[in-house]
């Protein structure tokens, strides 16, 4: 693995070296290294690009890293990763994609991650998307995440795209059975001429299921963001979506929340707010000795932390 790939790996997965536990590192279109454990198996798909991650029921306190890095300009790939998480598991899955595009051709990673989360299982899923490189070639990532959660299962998803991705169309869908719950925390920043569309679709089908989708976004320069959150309550359930966005420069942001109750006991809330950085916030930090630019950076970093 070269220096560029190591840097990408550190950015998206916080990895300085080979991770402990199970992992599958995909670099420039193929698996570069893999490790499985007694409880976590990783199998290459034979009909299409991608892997199956199979976690035995009852696996606790284990983690799987599955980072993807593209450091050659001009690669376009579509990857299908399926996660089969057994009943009663408590595991952390760290995905993410880093693109370094030093050339003129576009680099694109599209991935469909499908989760099958068993009964009473707890999953923490972290994905980071990051782009860099001095080339003029576009860096594109279109991640789709489909989550099926069985009775009393729980998914906590953290999804972060802070820098360097020129275009992204992110789709997250969740289907919840009785007592199942999902919490999503999204952090998104776009700059330059970037475009980001993020769509959440949650169907709460089981009694006592719940969903909480929280998105914080900052759009700078001439970038454009669209946020869509559709939450459907088909049973006694509780759903909440929140989009909080800071708009700067000449950016554009749309937030389109949609909640649908198909059951008398469905309780659904959506909140969406877009606004520029409050002048008072800048002034307060300037009275502490920060310049206007430093104050702005502090506010944006805090907001996305």
């Amino acid at each position: 693995m070269d220096e560029i790939q190591k840097t990408l790996l550190e950015e998206i997965a916080g990895l300085h070296e080979i991770p402990a536990g199970a992992y599958n590192i995909r670099a420039n279109g193929s698996t570069s290294s893999r490790n499985t454990t007694a409880n976590i198996d990783i199998v290459t798909k034979d009909d299409k690009q991608g892997i199956d991650i199979i976690i035995k029921p009852g696996t606790k306190k284990e983690s799987v890293h599955i980072p993807v890095i593209l450091s050659e300009s001009g690669i376009t790939e579509m990857v299908y990763n399926d996660f089969h998480i057994g009943d009663d598991c408590d595991v952390t899955i760290i995905a993410g994609c880093g693109i370094h595009n030093g050339g003129e051709r576009k680099s694109q990673h599209d991935g469909i991650h499908t989760f099958y989360i068993g009964k009473n299982a707890k999953v923490k899923y972290v994905e980071k998307h990051y782009g860099r490189g001095e080339g003029t070639g576009e860096k594109i990532m279109n991640p789709t995440t489909i989550v099926n959660i069985e009775e009393n299962g729980h998914l906590e998803m953290e999804t972060v795209q802070i820098k360097g991705v020129d275009s992204t169309d992110r789709i997250t869908k969740a289907y919840l059975a009785e007592g199942a719950s999902v919490v999503v925390n999204e952090k998104l920043m776009t700059h330059g001429n970037q475009y980001a569309k993020t769509t959440f679709e949650v169907e709460m089908n089981g009694e006592g299921s719940s969903a909480n989708i929280i998105s914080r976004a900052v759009a700078k320069d001439d970038s454009h963001q669209i946020f869509l959150a559709k939450i459907q309550g088909n049973n006694k359930c509780a759903g909440h979506s929140e989009c909080d966005a800071i708009i700067m420069d000449n950016a554009k942001i749309s937030a389109i929340p949609e909640i649908t109750a198909n059951h008398l006991e469905a309780e659904l809330i959506h909140e969406a707010a877009i606004g520029k950085i409050a002048g008072e916030q800048l002034i307060k930090l300037m009275t502490l000795g920060l310049t206007e630019e430093e104050a702005e950076a502090q506010i944006v970093n805090g907001f996305l932390k």
Binding site: A278, I283, T287, G289, Q298, N301
Partner: protein, 241 residues
Amino acid sequence: MLELIDISFSVEEDGKVKEILKDINITIDDKKFVAITGPNGGGKSTLAKIIAGIEKPTAGKILFNGTDITDMSITDRAKLGISYAFQQPVRFKGIKVKDLIKLAAGEGVSVASACDYLSEVGLCARDYINRDVDGSLSGGELKRIEIATIIARNTELSVFDEPEAGIDLWSFKNLIKVFEKMHKQSEKSIIIISHQERILNIADEIIVVAAGQVKSRGTKDEILPEVLNGNTLEGCKYYND
């Protein structure tokens, strides 16, 4: 030393010029604790903002230790040694109490000293240090954190705009102690805009600003009777009754 020389400030409202401050001349000597009081809408808060650089005077000059700071930015004045506590503290999503105090005290401040500043204003540091400075804090809590940031800065001049506003009576007693301590222990100057008799009582000097002008200035013995009897001081009537 802070010198305000012939400071005027006006705004345009519905095409008419409205004078907020007229020919204000005030000198604040080093190590002095000065209270500025007067009726609401008299121009006190504007004066504080002019000292901090948030508003620019339409006429006049401001000297700080002999340096003309009239055209200086908020940031440069802060670096030069002027602190300003907001009447209504600002909320931030994602900035923690710890972060704000670190920004105020400068890099290198330890969590332990950040905690000390919070204790100074009567907040249990453990409960607050990692909280966001956002809507989850009450007005009184925010106010005390605001004051803690000023203590942490420890600059030559600190300006407080109505520190008592939004603080309950019980906390107010402790707040008085905070200012007394600041005054006794430190060699710095303090300007407090206040309506509270108990704050005026601990000041070296009281300046009454009304209708955009300095109406009178002197020691508390000279000014307090006039203020309390003359009813120029709104908000203190309750205590007088």
